[in-house]
Each structure stands twice: as structure tokens, then as C-alpha cells.
């Protein structure tokens, strides 16, 4: 029974992990229909922000929760102004440009920090006991953070004027533009917000995985598949796809080992996309966010 | 006069979007060499009906039958493959190609190269496209693009023509010419024309089908319909 609970917790963590690495991408995709292939590098930059900050004596919580989203958010803003804004409506070109950006970021970070960076940070919370099994307290914390983050995004969309405008833009960008909403400003804010969420995610994961210039490559494929499987609805899509794919991965990994866990995840996604080419939410939750 | 053969028919055709019944149980018949206009206010369902005919939409229930073949749920290319010429509401052209090349693509679909070239030449004369023959259609004005698309339909020599708002965005003169052209096409083929422009309809059609709330409200000559107070109300609101 204890094993069951601790295993269930593990699978929930797997789901939360998937949601965490995908949310930033989902925000940008859901609101702007921009598939940001440099998303993995935003996560990576978040991680580096935390590592550099803590190596210079900054408190780790401050670095993870404030600095990482702030720094990456600003980077996202710059990227949007310099690159993305010229490519709206050209989906394929955006895909290509962000791909180039991803290589560029990896190159820049490798040039500055070298291939590997010493990290002295470790998950800052102790161990939680479930019966005779132990779980990482930090993993529990991450699950809570993901839930909080999802609620926060929901409230932002529901209650703030930015959210209202954003929802309008999501439903019908042309109409929103006709109503005098500055889509350019909305897009700029959205992209920056998405980048900030990615930065936060990267920062939070850094103590668990460490940082490498090309760690984004490991994340991007999974985040990508989660978001595409979820469809354009940011919250419903990310959540449902994370639960499905994370659940499959967790269960299969435990039963047969990690080799087939990831393969199962990818296969689930492909079958899903064949059945529902516009993602889960494109099929079931047309009106959700 | 003998009743001519039915070439296009719908039986109990319905198309629902969520709770909205855009097309509701429509029975419709078109006979050989007939020219029929579909009219109705915005949202009456005529465009949805049209898209069900062309295969762009798959109806929720009911059947579309063209020349005794059930075409329900078939792809647009299957419909076109029966020799039906289709013009969509928004002009669908090969924007990177010249007018002539667009026409040629259409003509060569059903005819050998030699015959296709002749057809292209004829079409250019018939639609007076000579001055924009070599222009890239992406750079043409809306009305000209409409004409090129009509030309693409004509160049294939279809026996049945489905036109969605062929006169939209045309100048008065162009509209007049288009009406003449449609009457000309009608010499050899049956037509269904979806249109808003009353004068245009008056110019080309004898029998008109009036759509209202997804169903056929009445089918008669334009004169009768304009005289009918309920039809006027539907079409023009309460302004009468």
C-alpha cells in the first residue's frame, strides 16, 4: 500500500513535470499559434540563471522563483521584438527562425560557460516519508508549484483584462483586431509571459537535473508533443495531455523500464494525433482555455 | 413540355453545427439545363447548403445525389470529377500563376493539350481576359480575380456549374457582363448560383429558391417572390 502511494506520487510527479516543461510553450502556442522551437533553450536559460545566481551567493528560492522568470521573460521580450514580430502569420518561418534561435542560444551558452558548469545547488527540501518509502520533498513541492501555476494562469485568463483580451484574441484574432485591441502588444506580452513561465520551469528543474547547454534538446521533444497532443486550449490541453502522456510514461516505465516508457509516450502521442489531428482539446473542449 | 431529367438532388439534407441547424431537412431538385439561384438573408444556410453540394462540408444527415450517384460525404475532387465546375465564395486561384496558366490548368484537366489550348483561347475571348492574360493573378483586383475564376470554371466545359457569389466585389459593368456570361453558360449546362445581389438575380434567373432558417422557404420566379409579403419581410427585414 505504501508502495502504491509512493508510486502514485511518482506518477503524479511525472505528470507535473511534463506540465511544467510544456506550459510556457502551450501559452505561446495557444494564444499566438506560434510553435517556439527555442522553448527548450528558454528552460535551459532559466536553469543557468539559477546556477549563476546561486554561485554568486543569491538565495536559491529567490533565484528560482523571481530571477529565473524575470531574466528569461526579458529575453523573451527581446526575442519577440527582434525576431518573432516580423514573422506573424508565417507559421513555418516562425518554426524555422525559432529553430535557428535555439541553436544560437546553445552556441552562446557553450561559448560563455563551456560544456559543463559546476553546480552546487541541490534540491533544497528534505525527504518525505510514506510508510517505509521515502520521496523527495522537492518533488512534492514541484507538484504543488505546477498546480499553483495552472490556477494562476486560469485566474489571469479569467479575471484580468489582459486575460479577457487574450481569450478574445485566441477565439478570433481578426475580430479582436477589429475591436481595436492591439494584437501586437498582446502578442509581445504573451510571448514574454510564456518565456517567463519557461524560465521559471527551467529554474525549478535545475536542482533536479543540473544544467547543460544542450539540455533543452531533451525537453523540447516532450514539451512539443505534449502541447500538440493537447491542442490549442492552454490549460485544458496541457493538463489533459500531461495526464495522459505522463501517466502512460510513468506506468510503462515502472513495469518495463525506462526504455519503453518513452517509446510508449511517443506512440500514444502519434495515435492520439491520428485520431484527433487538432489535439485533445480541438476535439473535446472546443470552448475551453 | 416534358419534364427534364433531375441532375442534382438533395434528400432530407441537414447540417448541424453544435446546436445550430444551418441546413435543416432540405429536399431540393435541379433539372437539366436549369438555372437556379439560391437567395436568402445572411445565415439562412444557403452557403452551408452550397458547401454540402460541393463536398467541402460533410452533412450531418441526408443525401446529395448528382446524376443518380450518391455523393454524400465525398470529397470536392470527387464532385468535380463528375464534370462539375465549382467556384467558391472566396476566389481560389493559383496566385503565383498567370491568368492563362490558371485557365490552362483547368482546361487540361479534362482535355488533351491541343483542345485545352483552344479552350483557353476561347475562354479568354469569352470573358474578355485578354488584357490580363499574362498577369500574375495574385496581383489582380478582386473583381478581375472573380472573372478569372469564372473562366477556370468555364474552360473545363462542365455540364453542371455551382457558383458561390460570382458577382461579389464586381463593378456594375462587370456584374452585367457576368450575368450575360451565366446566361451563356446556361445554354450548355445547368447552374446553381448563390447570390445576394437582387438585380443580378433578376437579370439571370427565372426560378429562385429562397432559404430561411436553414430550410427552403419558397421556390418561384423572382417576380412572385418579390411580390410575396412574407418573403419581403424575410429578405428585407421589417422595413416594408
Amino acid at each position: 500500500m505504501d508502495l502504491f502511494f509512493s508510486l502514485a506520487l511518482q506518477i503524479i510527479y511525472g505528470v507535473a513535470n511534463l506540465a511544467l516543461i510544456s506550459l510556457g510553450l502551450a501559452i505561446v502556442f495557444g494564444m499566438m499559434r506560434v510553435i517556439n522551437l527555442a522553448h527548450g533553450e528558454f528552460l535551459m536559460l532559466g536553469g543557468y540563471t539559477v546556477v549563476v545566481a546561486t554561485n554568486n551567493g543569491v538565495n536559491i528560492w529567490f533565484a528560482m522563483l523571481v530571477l529565473a522568470p524575470l531574466v528569461v521573460g526579458i529575453i523573451g521580450l527581446i526575442v519577440e521584438r527582434c525576431l518573432i514580430q516580423w514573422l506573424y502569420g508565417r507559421m513555418i518561418d516562425t518554426l524555422l527562425a525559432t529553430w535557428g534561435l535555439s541553436l544560437l542560444f546553445i552556441g552562446i551558452i557553450t561559448s560563455i560557460f563551456g560544456a559543463s558548469t559546476t553546480t552546487v545547488i541541490s534540491p533544497p527540501l528534505g525527504v518525505v516519508k510514506i510508510g517505509e518509502y521515502t520521496s523527495s520533498g522537492y518533488e512534492l513541492f514541484l507538484i504543488l508549484v505546477v498546480i499553483a501555476l495552472l490556477i494562476l494562469v486560469y485566474l489571469t485568463l479569467r479575471l484580468t483584462s489582459l486575460g479577457l483580451v487574450a481569450r478574445a484574441t485566441m477565439q478570433n484574432a481578426d475580430m479582436a483586431a477589429c475591436l481595436g485591441i492591439s494584437t501586437s502588444r498582446i502578442y509581445m506580452l504573451t510571448f514574454s509571459l510564456g518565456a517567463a513561465v519557461s524560465g521559471l520551469a527551467g529554474g525549478l528543474l535545475a536542482p533536479m537535473t543540473g544544467v547543460l547547454p544542450n539540455i533543452g534538446v531533451i525537453y523540447i521533444a516532450k514539451a512539443f508533443i505534449t502541447v500538440i497532443s493537447g491542442g490549442v486550449a492552454i490549460l485544458a490541453g496541457t493538463t489533459s495531455a500531461s495526464i495522459l502522456l505522463g501517466g502512460v510514461n510513468g506506468v510503462i516505465s515502472y513495469v518495463t523500464g525506462p526504455t519503453f516508457g518513452e517509446v510508449a509516450l511517443l506512440f500514444t502521442a502519434i495515435i492520439l494525433l491520428r485520431l484527433m489531428p487538432t489535439g485533445i482539446t480541438g476535439r473535446f473542449f472546443r470552448k475551453s482555455q | 413540355m416534358l419534364k427534364r431529367e433531375v441532375v442534382l438532388e438533395t434528400r432530407n439534407l441537414s447540417m448541424h453545427f453544435g446546436g445550430v441547424r444551418a441546413v435543416d431537412n432540405v429536399d431540393f431538385q435541379l433539372r437539366e439545363n436549369e438555372l437556379r439561384c439560391l437567395i436568402g438573408p445572411n445565415g439562412a444556410g444557403k452557403s452551408t447548403f452550397f458547401k454540402c453540394l460541393t463536398g467541402q462540408l460533410v452533412p450531418t444527415s441526408g443525401d446529395v445525389i448528382i446524376r443518380d450517384i450518391t455523393m454524400t460525404g465525398r470529397e470536392p475532387h470527387d464532385v468535380a470529377g463528375l464534370g462539375v465546375g465549382i467556384k467558391t465564395q472566396v476566389p481560389n486561384l493559383f496566385d503565383g500563376l498567370s491568368t492563362q496558366e490558371n485557365l490552362w490548368l483547368s482546361a487540361s484537366r479534362w482535355h488533351a493539350d491541343k483542345r485545352a489550348s483552344v479552350l483557353v483561347k476561347e475562354t479568354i475571348e469569352r470573358l474578355e481576359l485578354g488584357d490580363i492574360r499574362l498577369s500574375v493573378v495574385g496581383s489582380l483586383a478582386h473583381g478581375q480575380r472573380q472573372r478569372v475564376e469564372l473562366g477556370m470554371v468555364v474552360a473545363a466545359e462542365p455540364w453542371l456549374v455551382l457558383l458561390d457569389e460570382p458577382a461579389a466585389g464586381m463593378t456594375e459593368e462587370e456584374t452585367y457582363k457576368t450575368a450575360e456570361l451565366i446566361k451563356d453558360i446556361n445554354q450548355t449546362s445547368a447552374l446553381i448560383v448563390v447570390e445576394h445581389d437582387m438585380n443580378f438575380i433578376r437579370a439571370i434567373s427565372n426560378i429562385v429558391t429562397l432559404f430561411h432558417q436553414g430550410a427552403i422557404f419558397m421556390e418561384d420566379t423572382m417576380d412572385v417572390i418579390s411580390a410575396d409579403p412574407r418573403a419581403r419581410e424575410i429578405y428585407l427585414g421589417h422595413k416594408t
Binding site: 509512493s6 560544456a115 521515502t134 523527495s136 536542482p207 539540455i215 515502472y254 525506462p258 526504455t259 | -
Partner: protein
């Protein structure tokens, strides 16, 4: 010079094709600089291994040149970066052999890269050194493999840690040839020492979430974990393992932790207590090593990476090659191979190393060390260990005309049943 060579090639293209080796010897200059080519990844995913190896190689060559070169000739070092991509390995190896006419090529990190270039270098008769620890099994007259192999390290590590921690061993390994073969040796030695290898699990190199496995280790009742995890992504295992509090209750031993300087990448609390086995540690307590480390740090300054077996062995391999050149009196391939195989030895930072002639592998010291506060404390050392695994399948003395990789299909296919 180069022009005449090119025009010669042009006119004799047909001959060249038939016997590329002919030109090599015909043009192998016996004067001018000796050409030493290094092909190691300095970008892409493998750079954490490749960069320190290149630094150490540069240092060795610079030192030799400062000391007057070899046989009175300067050594010209050419370094290529294949960017962690196999196609560039083949390209640069061809360039080194057929273009640069290298006297020796030191190259390769992954077994895939070695297997891609080994045939090329054999075809163009260019002496080849492979200085990475690997799964063993290369049996090739032209190829000297100087890294440690699993039998050398695992044989020592397993009995020591089992005695210390317990007999139930949970094995986690990277999912590729090296991991599979290492895991097999671990299983063999665990059984030989009366223990129980309760589970073996393999991880693709890009896995970063080890949660389910950590839970499995907890529920398995293992006494210890043997890790043959490899690469940057797998460092996550040690972090997550510590975060679950497991490193205190079920300790970890490894023959792969540390070559990518992983012990510097994770914190002291996460790493303390791990026991690792290599043929070199920066902390080896000998004059030769202290001197080596001091020179390396002085040379590299503040950015000096930690020294590990890969870097030290790259340095030592350059030197043992140089010893053989001196002994042979020429840099030509065959005399140097002869010299290497006839007992040339080098006293390097890891201790005395020499070539084991049946396998062209290295007899080398093996050390066990415990990780404490991001550095290793040597706890055991074993002098001049032979490459026992490769010896089981390879005898170049009896059958010199070989160029095969015996373990490509695993141990069983090579006739080793364990």
C-alpha cells in the same frame, strides 16, 4: 611540396586507388615535423569528455616540443573537432590519414566513433590510439586502446563494495553497448563473490527522470547500487537519488561516475560516500601525479577542469607513443608498433603503464576511491592490472593480422558466457 604532391596524385590517381598505402610510405617524410592528429569532440553532447582530453593532449605535445621534440624533430599537433557527429569523425580521420599524412592519430570517445574510423585508419595504415575507457574487445594490430576496461575496474570495485555494503546489488546502466557489457561484468563479479544481482535496468542516454526506478530500488531491498550511467542527462540520477534520501541508505558505486567530472557537477551532500574505480584519479598521492596536476593547473589557470582518467590517459598515451618513437628511432608506423609491443613503458601520473602485446591494450594501475566533499579519497590501489576481458578473446601475438571488435554483438557472441 604540396603542389608537387597534388600533381603526382593527379597523374597517378589509378595507382593511388589500388594502393593508398603506397603513397603514405612513399611520402612519409623522414624529416620535417612529426604529425600528431587528435580528433575529439569539443562541442555537441560529448564535449564534457572531449574538452579536457584535448587540453591534456596539448599539454603533452607542448612539453615534448619544449624539451626539444622527438628524434630532433618538432611535433606538429593538429586538433579536429568532430562536433559529436560520427560523419565528421570519418571525414577528419580520412583527412588526417590521406590528407595530413599523420604519423599517429589519437581519436574517439564513443565506441561508435572508434568503429567509424578504425577501418579508415587501418586502410590508410595510420597508427591509431583510442584513449577512452570502454567495453573492451578491440583486437586490432593498428589500434592501441589505452583506457581501462570493465574487467579491470569492476573486478576490484564489486568485491570491495559488496564486502562493505552487502550482497544484494541493483544495477543501473546506460542503454548502449558499453552499459550492457559493463552490466554483464558486474553481474558476473557479483555472483562470483556470492552476491545477488537482483535487477538490471538500462537507461537511454537522454533520460532525465529517474523517479520510477528510484522507487523500484527502494522496494527491491537492495543493499547497494552499481551505476554504469553515462552522460550529462544521467547526472540527474544522482541528484534525484539523493533528493529521495536514498544515498544514505542504499549507497552507490560506479565505474563511470567521474570521467565527465560529474563529482564536480553535483553537490557534496549528493555525492558523498560513493565509491568509484578508475585507473586514474586527480587525488593520487604520488610525486609524478602532484607534479602533473600542478603543471596542468598552472597551464589552464582558473578554468582548469578536474582531471580524470580520460584526460590523464590522453596525456600518458601521447607519452607512451613518444617513448616508442624514441625506442624505434623513427616515427614510421611498423617500427613504432613493434616498439610499443615490446615492453616500452612510461611512468606517468597514474603510475607505470605499458602495452600488453596480445591485445594492444594497457597494463595499468587501478584505484578505488571514495567521494568526499567533491573530491576522491583513494582507498585501495592495485598495480599493473592486465585487460583480462579482452585477453579472453584476443591474441595478436598468435594471430597478428586482425582488425576486429569482438564485443560488438555483446559478450555472449564473443564466446564469453557469464
Amino acid at each position: 611540396m604540396s603542389i608537387s604532391r597534388r600533381s603526382f596524385l593527379r597523374s597517378t590517381a589509378g595507382v593511388t586507388l589500388a594502393a593508398p598505402a603506397l603513397i603514405n610510405s612513399a611520402f612519409a617524410a623522414s624529416h620535417g615535423p612529426i604529425k600528431f592528429v587528435s580528433i575529439l569532440d569539443q562541442s555537441g553532447g560529448l564535449d564534457i569528455y572531449g574538452a579536457p582530453m584535448v587540453d591534456a593532449t596539448r599539454m603533452a605535445i607542448d612539453e615534448m616540443n619544449e624539451a626539444g621534440g622527438l628524434l630532433g624533430r618538432e611535433i606538429e599537433l593538429k586538433v579536429y573537432d568532430p562536433q559529436s557527429s560520427i560523419q565528421f569523425y570519418t571525414q577528419f580521420a580520412t583527412q588526417a590519414a590521406a590528407g595530413d599524412k599523420a604519423d599517429v592519430v589519437h581519436a574517439g570517445i564513443t565506441s561508435a566513433s572508434r568503429e567509424a574510423i578504425r577501418p579508415t585508419l587501418a586502410r590508410y595504415e595510420t597508427l591509431y590510439f583510442y584513449n577512452t575507457l570502454y567495453e573492451g574487445g578491440v583486437c586490432d594490430m593498428n589500434n592501441f586502446c589505452t583506457g581501462s576496461t570493465p574487467a579491470q575496474t569492476v573486478e576490484k570495485l564489486v568485491p570491495y563494495t559488496m564486502k562493505k555494503w552487502g550482497k544484494k546489488v541493483y544495477i543501473v546502466a546506460a542503454d548502449y553497448n558499453y552499459g550492457h557489457i559493463t552490466a554483464q561484468w558486474v553481474q558476473k563479479y557479483v555472483r562470483d563473490n556470492g552476491g545477488d544481482p537482483i535487477e538490471v535496468e538500462f537507461f537511454p542516454l537522454d533520460v532525465t527522470n529517474f523517479g520510477p526506478t528510484i522507487k523500484k530500488i527502494q522496494s527491491s531491498g537492495a543493499d547497494m547500487v552499481m551505476s554504469a550511467l553515462v552522460g550529462g542527462a544521467h547526472v540527474s540520477f544522482y541528484r534525484q537519488y539523493a533528493a529521495a534520501g536514498m544515498n544514505k541508505s542504499v549507497p552507490v558505486a560506479s565505474t563511470t561516475f567521474g570521467v565527465g567530472n560529474e563529482h564536480k557537477l553535483i553537490s557534496a551532500e549528493e555525492g558523498d560516500g560513493m565509491i568509484c574505480a578508475y585507473s586514474y584519479f586527480e587525488e593520487i598521492d604520488s610525486d609524478a601525479n602532484r607534479d602533473f596536476v600542478a603543471r596542468f593547473k598552472a597551464r589552464m589557470g582558473a578554468d582548469a577542469p578536474a582531471l580524470n582518467e580520460l584526460a590523464a590517459r590522453s596525456y600518458e598515451a601521447a607519452y607512451i607513443w613518444a617513448e616508442a618513437v624514441k625506442a624505434a628511432g623513427t616515427a614510421d608506423r611498423m617500427p613504432v608498433i613493434e616498439a610499443l609491443r615490446s615492453g616500452v613503458a612510461y611512468d606517468g601520473p597514474s603510475g607505470r603503464v605499458d602495452i600488453e602485446p596480445k591485445t594492444n591494450h594497457l597494463n595499468q594501475n587501478v584505484y578505488l576511491a571514495e567521494l568526499k566533499n567533491q573530491s576522491f579519497n583513494i582507498i585501495e590501489s592495485y598495480v599493473s592490472q592486465p585487460p583480462t576481458d579482452t585477453l579472453m578473446v584476443c591474441d595478436l601475438v598468435a594471430n597478428p593480422d586482425q582488425s576486429v571488435f569482438k564485443f560488438e554483438n555483446g559478450l555472449k557472441a564473443a564466446g564469453i558466457d557469464i
